[in-house]
């Protein structure tokens, strides 16, 4: 359990996402309404990066088939996805965005 810097806060504009590599697979860092969220990067429906997704209403939409997931919980908000995303603890330390890259988990 250790937070590590994955990017700088200014690397991700409001409403955008960034893909970073992690020990459990790629992680997407999302910047939405001033907050940072971290989810697994791969959509659970098909092979596609959620960092290439579209943020709206607190959800990340996969741009391939438009499945939606809650940024905060990773839960499915629209099919064709059936399974939730893993989420990661994230915090902002100064200008650094830090993620506990070993602690990917499913929300309760």
């Amino acid at each position: 359990m250790a937070f590590q810097k994955v990017c700088e806060a200014s690397d991700i504009d409001e409403g955008e996402s960034l893909r970073v590599e992690g020990p459990q697979g790629a992680i997407a860092i999302h910047h939405w309404e001033g907050q940072y969220y971290a989810t697994q990067d791969r959509c659970t429906h098909d092979e596609w990066s959620l960092a290439d997704g579209y943020l709206e209403n607190g959800m990340i939409e996969c741009t391939l088939h438009w499945a939606k997931f809650c940024l905060r919980t990773g839960k499915v908000k629209a099919p064709p996805a059936c399974h939730a995303l893993k989420i990661y603890p994230v915090r902002v330390n100064g200008n650094d965005v830090e993620v506990d890259v070993d602690a990917g988990h499913f929300a309760a």
Binding site: H65, P79, P80
Partner: protein
Amino acid sequence: MIETVAIIGSGLAGAAVATGLRSLGFDGGILLFGDEAHHAYDRPCLSKAALIEGHAEPMPLHPDGWLERNRITLIDEAPVTAFDAASRTLTIGTGQQFTADGIVFATGLRPRTLGVPGEELAGVQYLRTWADQLAMRDALHPGMRLAIVGGGLVGCEIATTARQLGAEVTIYEAADELVARVLGKVVGERCRRNLRSMGVDVRLNTTISAIEGDTAVRGVHSRDGMVDAVDRVLVSIGGVPADDLAAAAGIECHRGIIVDAQGRTSHENVFAVGDVANWPLRDGTRRSLETYLNAQMQAACVAAALVGQSQPAPQVPRGWTEIAGRKIQFVGDMAGHGSLIVRRREGETAHVAFLVGDGGELVAALAVDAPGEFASALRLVEGDLRPDIAQLADPEIALRAILKSTRTVENAG
């Protein structure tokens, strides 16, 4: 006051109405009537990944426990055989009857049949269900000869998949271009070239006059006099809304169940959703949409109407397909009227095209291998926004930036 809702059809549209009802706080009974062994599974992958990857089971739309958590009673031992609109009573094949306050038809489409001699032969099939997909998978192997009648989305998707699996594939299309009705002729022509370079034999302006064989299919006769030896025939000439039950009950039907922009039929508290619904479009026309996304949007609307909320939603068609290795996404009617603006960088195949109407309105958009850009394109079209056309045509200006600035300008105006 609606206390019990019966949904006929457990595919995406029907299941989405059930989910929508619960998310709106509906606390009454939900009866979901299905007529397949599997309920609520992903159909778009049946022509693609399910065949290529050989899925052991259909991909479910919901995780285990969805029915229980949402308190949905699934009735799938027999199909619904009769509906009485006055008493809102459904009868299933076993004779058992169910009554509900609200009825939702989500019965989908049935495949359109060819109507030629020999179509009953073994080896002639459609592709709508998991069982159809299994039959196709069993038949496809390297060197087998597959005739695909109908070069629409499903026909072209299967042609792609079958070639990848080594089959010899011929598409017979009655029109003068593939997929033109949905994607327009420009994209149709490109799909045809790409399919041909994969080794698919594409025959345009060609209809089938007969299928030949003793018990199993052996060949197809086309009206231009050709006879081709084949091992299997896929008939993919579209679908017919499964509206018989509603029509028999006196509900107004014409190419589907006629509904308003909230899914209401001609009868009070009777709704229709998804492919069976002839639903109003934003451009003033109406039809059955046959797309995954529109089925979901319609389901949200119908669920709202059932709990007494009004949120009418004239539809803008939206869909995706994968043909000859290209990911194609579209919104609006690309075969409609307007001028075409193509955003493409020199030397790249990925691009986004917009169809712009005479008044500068965005009629439709289509992306090839550009899902990230398309996310903004579809919001421009669905939002009926009017971006600067010169900017739109410039591939160096990100669509996301154009969307943002157009929204800012329109909000200020």
